[in-house]
């Protein structure tokens, strides 16, 4: 456990799956040097297979006694999806300009077997009761990180000052135990450099008082970032005061520090097309993801929304609406950080 802990809260009711976070992360960190297959941040459709494929069933994390569970290293082709090129030249290039009518469709030059966002918007359920929501995922900078535990070289460490979990590139020897051990599959092996890499919570930005790229670039104002011990910050208020931000798969035992406000959903239709009391997204599915307090949290959200609708004040709704983007981030100025 570190002295302080940075955390992120992601409001799933506001995420519209635009992938701006994904691209902000990719262009900043993973578009080069063996990282092209990696998505330190991804947004997947839930329910769905996720990225990497079926990560939730890939093992890792801790058992009830606190021992590491065996985990699986995903395959590049079948689970992450190997990066591919498109046939730009034959489909769009100048060479075939004379035969405009006979150009092939623009398509991957190699047939991909999987990829991030492979099952986008598929979701589950039968029309008209089909449903899905978007689930943004990144390294959880866990308080009990399985990757740290699994590394025999102690190459992975958790920073005292903010709890960010980092892979020491000079100690890593590419054994990939961490890749298997992370139940969220958010440690990646860089085959070009022979070492493991992962989300660094944009620590060079954080050290300057700027939020991680995925959070700062989010046009939907979905992500809050701050210290859990900063009682007045929106993160601590959502997690500890209002208790509406929940951990994803807490049962993996790693104590993740990315929290989610679970999604409300429209009601189901019955066979005659009448609206029922039942939510479109099955509660048991949300409970599996975010734990037993989901029904209570959804009730709180409904109550507070109702207050706002009827002109009463609601601190919770004011936080979640996020009137000012910069108020979602309480990182402290660089000088203030140095004192801590």
């Amino acid at each position: 456990m570190s002295k302080r802990q940075l955390a992120m809260v992601i409001d799933l009711n506001k995420c519209l799956g635009c992938q701006t976070c994904t691209m902000a992360c990719k262009t900043q960190w993973t578009n080069r040097s063996g990282r092209d297959y990696m998505y330190w941040n991804n947004v997947e459709t839930a329910p769905g297979k996720g990225y990497p494929k079926m990560w939730m069933e890939s093992g890792g994390g801790f058992d009830a006694e606190g021992a590491l569970n065996a985990g699986r290293i995903p395959s590049l082709e079948n689970d992450y999806g190997a990066p591919f090129d498109l046939n730009f030249e034959s489909a769009l290039g100048m060479a075939g300009a004379a035969e405009q009518g006979n150009r092939p469709w623009l398509r991957p030059a190699q047939n991909p077997a999987y990829g991030p966002n492979w099952d986008e918007d598929e979701g589950a359920g039968e029309y008209p009761n089909s449903y899905y929501f978007y689930l943004p995922r990144l390294c959880n900078h866990c308080s009990n990180p399985a990757c740290v535990k699994a590394c025999p070289r102690k190459a992975i460490y958790k920073r005292e000052e903010d709890g960010i979990v980092l892979v020491d590139q000079s100690r890593c020897r590419g054994y990939q135990h961490c890749v298997a051990a992370c139940p969220y599959k958010k440690v990646f092996f860089n085959p070009a450099l022979g070492r493991s890499e992962k989300c660094i919570f944009c620590y060079p930005r954080v050290e300057q008082g700027t939020a991680p790229a995925c959070a700062r670039q989010c046009p939907g104002r979905v992500r809050f970032v701050g210290y859990l011990d900063d009682e007045n910050g929106p993160v601590a208020r959502l997690v500890n005061k209002h208790k509406v931000a929940l951990r994803l798969r807490e049962d993996f035992g790693t104590q993740p520090n990315v929290y989610y406000v679970p999604p409300l959903s429209p009601p189901k239709y019955d066979a005659r097309g009448e609206i029922t009391d039942e939510p479109r997204i099955p509660l048991e599915y949300l409970v599996k993801l975010f734990g037993p307090s989901v029904p209570h949290v959804l009730e709180t959200l409904r109550t507070e929304m109702e207050k706002k609708k009827t002109g009463q004040s609601s601190e919770l709704m004011d936080i979640l609406i996020a009137y000012r983007h910069e108020e979602m981030f309480t990182l402290g100025a660089p000088a203030e950080r140095q004192k801590t």
Binding site: I73, P74, S75, P152, R153, R173, Y175, H177
Partner: protein, 347 residues
């Protein structure tokens, strides 16, 4: 020209220091029964880095057995993945060359996500000699470092140093060169490293190989016991050899040792042939006699806390002191000797 002359002179001087055919020492015969002894042949010319060089034809071969590493997790499967490693050695006055050869039907050459390559390491004690205990076979121990020349398919040699599992780091003065070749179902790897000619005229060395196809990496590897390189023109120091021997005069009594182990309750925590009740807390002893030097086995029974292999559940803290979960047996030296007699049969 001057340099060449000087080199020749040094060669001539050291050649003269020991008369060939020194009286055969019984100690050496005993050591050969106990450990692999690799006879290095002296050559005047440059040492052959090419594994196919005909220069290797003249070197005698020694075959070592490799055992799965099971003392720390993650280790190698205890299943019978035992390989044999054939070693040849040549030397000059400044360098020693080893050629390692082991069978491998399907070489693993490309490293990737969840894919591991074949690899090899030679391990040398940073210090050795009369009165100096051999470092723990698994990458040395605190205070007894080992130098490691590590090669991985597709890579260059890495010069490393370690003082126990998990402590591997780069060595200040790299002094090794490696060339490898896979041909006809076998790896052949040549290591040349500088040789500070040991005053004891015998060099301890141990080897490890990793089979990429078995997802070997890290502690999941096949390991040789400490073995010894002798040098054609220099007889090993008798006292040094004698100090490495186990029970040189007494009669070994492994059956008695096995009985003592049962009475002392060893099978509660350790698995070994015929034991089915072990709780797996202690390391598997199936190959204990193959991997470990007898002096280490004796020490680890006599003073379990004197060196504790890193890993969960091996030790508890008593104040600031790390104490092995293996209890002090309270056994007599005689009983411990019998146990070691028995463990040495496990290989």
């Amino acid at each position: 020209m001057k340099a060449l002359l000087a080199a020749t002179l040094i060669a001539a001087l050291s050649l003269a220091s020991v008369p060939p055919g020194a009286a055969a020492d019984r100690g050496m015969e005993e050591l050969k029964k106990q450990s692999a002894v690799i006879g290095a042949r002296f050559v005047k010319g440059p040492l052959p880095i090419d594994p196919s060089d005909s220069g290797w034809d003249g070197a005698a071969s020694t075959t070592l057995t490799l055992y799965p590493q099971v003392s720390v997790t993650p280790g190698a499967a205890i299943a019978p993945r035992i390989s044999s490693l054939t070693v040849r050695a040549l030397y000059t006055n400044t360098n020693v060359a080893l050629r390692l050869e082991w069978p491998d039907d399907s070489p693993s050459l490309e490293r990737g996500i969840g894919r591991f390559v074949d690899a090899m390491a030679a391990q040398w004690p940073a210090k050795h000699g009369k009165g100096i205990a051999l470092p723990y076979i698994g990458m040395g121990e605190p205070g007894a470092p080992v130098e490691i020349d590590f090669w991985r398919a597709g890579g260059k040699v890495e010069s490393l140093v370690a003082e126990g599992f998990g402590s591997l780091g780069p060595r200040d003065a790299p002094n090794a060169e490696v060339r490898a070749e896979w041909k006809d179902g076998a790896w052949r790897v040549v290591i040349i490293r500088t040789l500070r000619f040991p005053p004891t005229a015998m060099m301890p060395v141990a080897f490890a190989i990793w089979e990429g196809s078995a997802a070997h990496r890290d502690g999941a590897k096949l390991l040789s016991p400490w073995s010894f390189i002798t040098f054609e023109n220099t007889a090993p120091d008798k006292e040094y050899v004698h100090g490495l021997l186990w029970n040189p005069r007494g009669q070994p009594d492994p059956a008695k040792g096995r009985q003592v182990m049962e009475e002392a309750g060893c099978p509660a925590c350790h698995a070994y042939p015929g034991v089915e009740t072990s709780n797996g807390v202690g390391p598997d002893l199936t190959y204990a006699g193959g991997v470990h030097h007898p002096a280490y086995l004796r020490e680890s029974i006599r003073k379990p806390s004197s060196f504790i292999v890193p890993g969960d559940g091996h030790a508890t803290m008593e104040g600031k002191k790390k104490v092995s979960v293996m209890p002090d047996s309270g056994l007599t030296d005689e009983s411990i000797r019998r146990i070691v007699d028995y463990l040495l049969t496990l290989h």
